[in-house]
Structure formats: structure tokens, C-alpha cells
């Protein structure tokens, strides 16, 4: 009952909005959000479709706990076939947008076709309409949100939009909602751009949109959940105070901080760009980069960083629009914009991060692509003439310039918009792209953390840290401590993480709760919200089903076991320094074991028995 049971189908070509009932059998099998929308997508599109073809679809989806008092119950996802990877893409975002969509009465919005001219979808409760967006095309996410709110005179409208990056089909363009929360990875924003869809604007005021199956049990379960989050050191203290950025020094000390396109595993400037540094008063203006922490909808953790730049910094000296506070760097962004290309200027990172939010592109892939471009430049493959300026590792100016060009789609920014795989291939060195399935690694070195390497290699949406966060056991000791270089038990642990993550991503809550919550904390909340009997076993089965469904889609799209791989640098070039010195990835040891625990053939294909067990 925590579903609204309504799906909004928007045919962009015909300009129509129609309502259909949610497939409740699928809701029972896939829960919601990631699982449910993926089920719709794989049932409706040809896996081999060109991601930019009008035949690809784009789905905005909420979970059963989205828009409820469950802590962090504000998530939504965007599901499509991703243009960066060609694989299934599901990007998850917080902010306030997802809850508003639910309050308007929708579990899901399915966009199909492509609009002949720029439009945005305006949803006011049950009423949905496509509105001309000619005046918004070419505008940033920030301008778009401001304009839509003012135009409809409703500051409470929530907006998810693409910026110029999405319009220009930057292959890692994001969809940004609430100014600085993003469905960031895999280029979902580029698919939106390819459909001439500038934004989705929602106002939800319905009180009858959905019900809790058992309100009393729901309050008991969610209050218990909040107490666990508050009492836990990580979710109650660490994340609110320091945000994810507190990891910068941890990962660096551990020798797992990929630096300069993974040439190194430790960054001498890590401390300068760390969460601790964000608290320090700047010598220039005596103020700290960090203004405060901010929460997404319903979140009692509040890890979000709100930063204000030094107005005297070279990047924004003459640009007052960046002098106010906005979303600051989170760990992955700080790493990608910083360590990945050797830049240790926190203010420059903040500026580039602002640009990523303002024009909607993924700082991880962007930053990693800068690192790859810098390596090509240092090798002499990329020249100053080609780029337009010098591009050595560690050049703050160059990183900032590339961010500006990529945002606007100008000059070398157009090539930057292809991501590192296509960039490196274009210049004859595909091996220098630090990617899996063409998607860039985030901030953990796959050699230094063996389990994380396996997670990258097997992730259905390409390299990513959010689908089996082996950093938890390998670094943080959550739920148990595993040695970074060990391989034993990691495939099974990874599978469990991947399946659990699929459940969390399908429920409408944030993955960060799992630093404190186990399935036994989450299950009662789902049980009380949703009709049906949701045991922990059933939930894990749902998670496994989702994982396998995504896998099947990728296999049908043409991926094979060969794509469950890491770049040669991680397989052959040993880590140069630190505690993991000498390490290379032992993927070849772990992968067969992983396939086995997954119930897949040695070629990475789910066996008939697995398929039957999961009903995929």
C-alpha cells in the first residue's frame, strides 16, 4: 500500500500523458524503485537499442518508503539504458524531488519516444502536462529550476533537470534535482537530453496518494530505525560532522587512493582536500569551506555538505554567482576532481563541483577523464595545441578550465564529454582508461582493495562504489574486518552486499543507512509500509532477482564475461607505495568463485536452475 499504484506514461513524441495502474505482481517481485523500474525497462525495450534512440526509455521511479517518515525516505532513481556503458543504468538520488513525486501520486514516470522540441514535464498532483521548454534550452540546471519555480509561482515545486551537459549529450551527464542532488552516473542525463526533455517539475499535495499498510507498526519500526542511526558513531556523529569526505585521509593512509589516473595509490595532497580541511579556516578570508551540513528529504543522518567558496579564489573572482553557498564536495567528487588528476586545491574542487551540479555532469567520470587526459598529455600524445592549454598532472587551472569547457560543450570540452574510454581510444591508448564497461572508477583502488576490485569488475552498471561497497569490510570493519589483500570469502561477501544493496535501492531509502542498519532494521519498516509478507529471506531473494535481471539485460545487450574485467594497470602494475605496495588485482582468483556463488556458469551466465529459482 506504500505504492501509489499509479504509473505515469509520457509519450514525448505524441506529447501525451496517460495513467496506468502499477503492475502489482511486479511490485511484489521487485519491491520498487531500482528493481521495479528495471523490470519495466527490460520488459519494454530491446536490450540492443541505441541508448540515444527514441526507442530507449527513461524511467523516474520512487520506492515504497520514498516520501515517508522512514529515515532517509526520500530517494528516487532514474533507470534507462546508459549511453556511457551501453549497459543497464540506474542512478539514485536524494534531495526532495522523489518524495514530491510520490505526494503527487506517482510511483513511476516512464518517458518514451523523443519530443520534436524541448519540453518539460509539469506534474501537479494527478495532472501532468508537457510544457514548451524552448526558453530553458541552453540554460543551466540552476537557471532552469529558478525559472520554472518563478514561472509557475510556486517555490515548493521540485525540479529535476538537465543542464547544458545533458543537452550536449555529454556521455556522463547527470540529472540534477534540488540544485545539488544528482542521479549522477552512467549518463542518464544525456538520455534525457536526447529526448529533448529538459526537466521534470513536480508539485504533490495529495493526502490520499498512498497509505501505510500498518501505521502503528510503521511508526514503531521507523522510530526504532532512527534510534539506531542516532546511536551509531558513523551515522550519528561521523557523517553529519565530516560527511563522506572524512574518507580522504583514511583511504590515503591505507594506500588505496587512486592518484594521477591510478599511477599512484597515495596522494601527497590528500590532506589539503579532505573533510578535515573543509572545516579549517582559510588563510585568505578566515572562513571555512564548509558552511553547514544538509539533509535530503527525511534523512536523520544529514551527511550533505554545504560549502561556500573563497570569493577571492581565481576561479570565481569575477563570478559572484558562485559566491553563495551550495552543495560542497563529497568524497567521490573531491577524489575525482582532486587526487585523480593530482590537484590539491580545495577551492578549485568546490568550484568544479559547483559546475558539475550547475550544468549536470558526473564529477567522478569527469575528474577521472581529466586524469586520463593529463596522462595522455604527459606522454606527449595529447598536445597543448590540441587541448588549447597545458595539461600536466596537478594543474589546477587546467582542471578548472576543462570543467568550464565541458559544462558549456566548447572546445576540448566536447571531447572531454565522451569520457575516458572514448578519449583514450581516440588517442590510441584505450588501456589508459580507468574504467569497467566504459564507466570510470570511483575513489578506491581496485588493487589495494581486492574486494572492491571484484565489485567494480562485476557491477552491472560499470565501475561504481555503490553496488557492493566492499570498502566497508576492507577498510572500515563494517560489519566485520577483512584484510584488503585477502581474497577468501570476498566473492560471497560481495554477492551478499550486492543483493542487499539492490533491496535498499529498491525500497526508497539511502544506502548510507546500512553503515548502521542491517536487514533486520530495514525489514520491519518495509513490512509495515507494504502489503504482503516481506521476510528478510524474501527481501534478499528480491535483491538477488534484481541483480540477475540486470545481468540478463546486459548479456542480451552484448556484454560477456570478458567485460567483467579491470584495466591492465590494475592487473599488472603493482601499487608503488604504502601498505599495499606491490599489490595487483587478484581478479582471476576471485571471479570464478564469484560466478559460482552467484549460480552462474563459468562464462558468467545465470544457470537454468538459478533462473528458475529467481523467476527471472
Amino acid at each position: 500500500m506504500a505504492w501509489t499504484k499509479n504509473v505515469l506514461r509520457v509519450n514525448l513524441e505524441a506529447g501525451t500523458c496517460t495513467t496506468e495502474p502499477l503492475n502489482m505482481q511486479w511490485a511484489q517481485d521487485y519491491l520498487g524503485q531500482r528493481g521495479l523500474a528495471t523490470k519495466y525497462l527490460v520488459s519494454e525495450i530491446d536490450p540492443k537499442v541505441d541508448p540515444f534512440s527514441p526507442k530507449n526509455k527513461l524511467i523516474f521511479v520512487t520506492g515504497p518508503l520514498t516520501g515517508t517518515m522512514a529515515a532517509t525516505g526520500g530517494r528516487y532513481s532514474v533507470v534507462t539504458k546508459g549511453p556511457l556503458t551501453g549497459a543497464i543504468a540506474c542512478s539514485n538520488s536524494g534531495g526532495y524531488f522523489g518524495a514530491e513525486l510520490k505526494f503527487a501520486g506517482w510511483d513511476m514516470v516512464i518517458f518514451e519516444g523523443a519530443s520534436p522540441k524541448p519540453v518539460y514535464l509539469l506534474i501537479n498532483d494527478g495532472k501532468a502536462e508537457l510544457v514548451d521548454a524552448s526558453h530553458l534550452w541552453g540554460k543551466t540546471v540552476w537557471e532552469t529550476e529558478e525559472t520554472i519555480k518563478a514561472q509557475h509561482q510556486d517555490p515548493q515545486i521540485r525540479v529535476a533537470a538537465i543542464g547544458r551537459a545533458g543537452e550536449n549529450r555529454v556521455l556522463y551527464a547527470a540529472i540534477v534535482n534540488d540544485l545539488h542532488r544528482a542521479a549522477g552516473r552512467s549518463g542518464v542525463g544525456a538520455v534525457m537530453g536526447s529526448k529533448n526533455l529538459k526537466a521534470v517539475a513536480v508539485r504533490g499535495t495529495r493526502t490520499d496518494a498512498y497509505q501505510m499498510a500498518n501505521p502503528e507498526a510503521f511508526f514503531a519500526a521507523t522510530e526504532a530505525g532512527k534510534k539506531v542511526l542516532a546511536a551509531n558513531g558513523v551515522t550519528g556523529q561521523g557523517l553529519p560532522t565530516y560527511g563522506t569526505q572524512v574518507l580522504m585521509n583514511v583511504i590515503n593512509e591505507l594506500g588505496a587512493l587512486p592518484t594521477r589516473n591510478h599511477r599512484d595509490v597515495q596522494f601527497e595532497g590528500a590532506h589539503d582536500i579532505s573533510g578535515e580541511a573543509m572545516h579549517e579556516k582559510r588563510p585568505t578570508d578566515g572562513k571555512a569551506n564548509l558552511v553547514t551540513n544538509g539533509a535530503c528529504f527525511g534523512c536523520t543522518i544529514a551527511c550533505g555538505r554545504i560549502s561556500r567558496m573563497d570569493p577571492g579564489h581565481f576561479s570565481v573572482k569575477d563570478k559572484p554567482q558562485y559566491h553563495g553557498a551550495s552543495g560542497g564536495v563529497e568524497y567521490e567528487a573531491a577524489w575525482a576532481l582532486g587526487a585523480a588528476n593530482g590537484v590539491n586545491d580545495l577551492e578549485a574542487l568546490t568550484y568544479a563541483n559547483f559546475l558539475c551540479n550547475e550544468d549536470g555532469f558526473d564529477p567522478i567520470t569527469f575528474g577521472a577523464t581529466v586524469g586520463a587526459a593529463m596522462e595522455l598529455y604527459e606522454m606527449g600524445v595529447l598536445t597543448e595545441k590540441e587541448v588549447g592549454f597545458k595539461l600536466p598532472f596537478g594543474s589546477t587551472e587546467a582542471m578548472v578550465k576543462l570543467a568550464e569547457l565541458t559544462a558549456k560543450g566548447e572546445g576540448f570540452g566536447k571531447i572531454m564529454g565522451l569520457g575516458s574510454k572514448r578519449l583514450c581510444t581516440k588517442y590510441g591508448h584505450p588501456e589508459l582508461s580507468m574504467t569497467v564497461k566504459s564507466q570510470e572508477f570511483p575513489a578506491y583502488d581496485g588493487r589495494a582493495l581486492q574486494g572492491m576490485g571484484l565489485a567494480y569488475a562485476t557491477n552491472n552498471r560499470g565501475a561504481c562504489h555503490l553496488r557492493g561497497y566492499m570498502v566497508s569490510p576492507e577498510v572500515l570493519g563494517i560489519p566485520v574486518k577483512m584484510e584488503p589483500q585477502a581474497t577468501e570469502g570476498k566473492p560471497a561477501m560481495l554477492k551478499a552486499f550486492q543483493d542487499l544493496t539492490a533491496v535498499v535501492d529498491s525500497a526508497g531509502i539511502c544506502l548510507f543507512t546500512t553503515f548502521a542498519w542491517g536487514l533486520s532494521d530495514i525489514q520491519p519498516q518495509i513490512q509495515a509500509a507494504c502489503e504482503g509478507d516481506w521476510s528478510e529471506e524474501r527481501l534478499l531473494l528480491v535483491g538477488e532477482r534484481i541483480w540477475n535481471m540486470e545481468r540478463e539485460f546486459n548479456l542480451a545487450a552484448g556484454f560477456t564475461a570478458k567485460d567483467d574485467n579491470l584495466p591492465p594497470r590494475l592487473m599488472k602494475e603493482p601499487a608503488k607505495t604504502g601498505p599495499q605496495k606491490g599489490a595487483v588485482s587478484k581478479l582471476d582468483v576471485m571471479l570464478p568463485e564469484y560466478y559460482r556463488v552467484r549460480g552462474w556458469t563459468p562464462d558468467g551466465v545465470p544457470t537454468a536452475e538459478t533462473r528458475k529459482r529467481l523467476g527471472v
Binding site: 519555480k149 518563478a150 509561482q153 510556486d154 517555490p155
Partner: protein
Amino acid sequence: MKHLIIGSGPAGVIAAETLRKADPAAEITLLCGEGEPPYARMAIPYLLKGEIEEAGTHIRKDADHYDRLRIQLVQARAKGIDTARHTVDLGGGRHLPFDRLLIATGSHPSLEKIPGMDLPGVHSCWTLEDARTILAQARPGTRIVQMGAGFVGCIIMEGLLSRGVDLTILVRSGYMVRRMMNPTASGLIRKWCEAKGVKVLTHTQPRGISAKEGALQVDLGEGRTLPADLYLSVVGVDPNLGFLEGSGIEVGHGILVDAAMQTSVPGIYAAGDVAEATDCLTGQRRINAIQPNAVEQGRIAALNMAGKPAQFRGSFVFNVLTTLGLVSSSFGEWQGVPGGESTEVLDESHYRYLSLQFDGDRLVGANCVGFADHVGAFRGLIEGRVRLGVWKQRLLEDPTRIMQAYLAAAHRVA
């Protein structure tokens, strides 16, 4: 001390209650002129809609409210005032003495000066009795021609339409609610009405009304006539001043009062729609016929009558209106002031409009259509003469950020 209050609208009732609090021993008499218990005209539209019973319009709900407060209700109309003898003439030889007098007689509908206004089926919509008549006559299919689309004209439309009538609105000027709304806002309201099936004829003024074959014929001139079963004349109101003749109480458009709400005759006060008090924005005296103003003036007058000096801080014009479900509001100098700046946003297809008027870095006026959240803050900003500082520019760029501007500038929370 004998306190006499003429008029049992909101100003009169609040005054009586305030007097009781401030002067527990006093005699308090409240004159009701319509043979009804004290009621609120603001509630009449909802009576027409059938959402409330007549009792729902009563200003106080407890049957023994006035008895409990020892407020004597007298059903009678004042015919005159003898300021020397301190008596009010009720006609028929009846006189009521007073030590302090409050005139809160409100206003009455202006009558069009055209032939046929006395015909059966021609009414105003102002009193409970008017409402009863309309309720009895307005049925599905009843053809109603309503002259006037001011505040009253607009708020009664929903009640009429809810009865399934066929409604035509005549507007003398080019604009509905032109005393509250600028042409853009007014145009939106008109468009909304038309979309709801109401015919709106602007620049139209009947020459006369005649009765023919059981129906009314409204002569619009140039050979045009409109048949009607019911003709409602709601062209405006005038203050009830007639009984003041010869009293020596100074009158302009209304009864002139000072900051203590006292008239030119000591001991005699006036409040509400009949009083002409200082407008705090313009400094000019004017009648400000709105509910919050009436009760505030009633309260201030009562305090002074009880010997507790109090000053009316001045008022300014603001009002809120619902036209067939479309909420709109108007504040202060919505037409703008010389040398001032303004900003507006319009979303015509969704019937939303917001216009702000500034004088320097202060908000002095606003028009809102379809924008109803936190509108009280407009009053706070305008009446408080709040300096907006940097928020002035932000509002010029995006007027919808009014609440942020209010919190930041008035409460300094950001």
C-alpha cells in the same frame, strides 16, 4: 458608565467585548438593526453555497454569549443622535441614553439609479434577508444577471453557480474587481470565470429593467436586452450616515475620526466600514472596509471609551477574495507609487500571478492570483515598513521568494 454601540457587525461586537474586559462594571448596549443576531456578512457566500446554516454566519456561536458578558442586545435602528443630550433616537419616541457612543453602522449597498430597481426579482446581496430571498429563488436553470463584479460580486458567484443557475455578470468598467486588482490580475479572474461557464460582459451598464411575461428584461442599450429571472445589483456600498444629519458629527466620505477613533464630538466614536481613519501608507484619511480593520478599530475605540488610551496605528487596504475557487489577494499600493519599482510573474494557463510594488527597498503593495500560501507576510512586510535590503533585488528577480525575504528581512533569521 453607559456604553452604547450602534451596529452589530464585527466592529460593534468586538468593541462590546473589549468594553466588557476593560470596564467590568459598565452598562453595554449593542443596537442590532436588521432584526438578526450579530452576524458576519463575510459568511454569506458560504450560506449561499449551502456549506453552512444561518447560525454559521453568527459572529458568536454560544447562545448565551452576550448575556454572559452582560451585553444587552437591542433590535432597533438609530434614527438620529442628540449629541447635547447624549441620546440616540430609535424612532417611535424611543430614546437610548449614553455616556459613550460608538457608531459602527457599516454600510449599505449602493442602488443603481435606473428604472425597475423596485421590481420583484431585483435584489442586492448584502444582508441575511437578501440571502434568504436569493436562496429561495435561485434554482437550476434560473437566469441570473448580476450587475457588478467587485469584491461582493465575486465572492457570491460560487454560491450562485453551485445552485446550477445560468449566470451573466455585467461589468460597467473593463475590469472585474478593479478596486483590488490590476488589469492583469483582473483579466485572469475574468478568464477563470468564463472557463467556469459564467458569461462576463464588460463595458456594460443596464439602462433599465422591465418585467415581461413573468421574466425580467434587462435593457443594455442599443437595442440589446437580456432576459433574467433574477437581477442582482452589487455595484458597491456606501457608509450608513443618514441618521447623523444634524448631529454635528463631522463627516467626509465616512465619519472622520482621530487616532483614538473619536469623532469630532467628544465621547462619540466610530469604527469599521463607516469610519474614515488614517491610512498608514498614504497618511490620508480613508474608509478601509475590511474585516481585520473593522475589528481593530472596534477594539481601539472601546479601549478609549473605557478610559484606557489607545491609538489606532493606522491601517492600509488589503483583502482576500475567492472567485469560484480562485483565490486572489490585494495589498496596499498595488497600483504602485510614483518613483517606485515593480516586478511581476504571470502563468496564465495555470491562473497564477504575482505582482509586487516597491518604494525604495520597502514593499508597499502586491496583487496575487492563485498564490495563497503565507500571504499574511505581505501584511507584515508592508505594515511593518520592513527594509528589504539585499532582498529587494532578489524579489525583483524572483517575486515568489517573498517568504524568504520576509523571514530574512523582518525576522533576521538568515
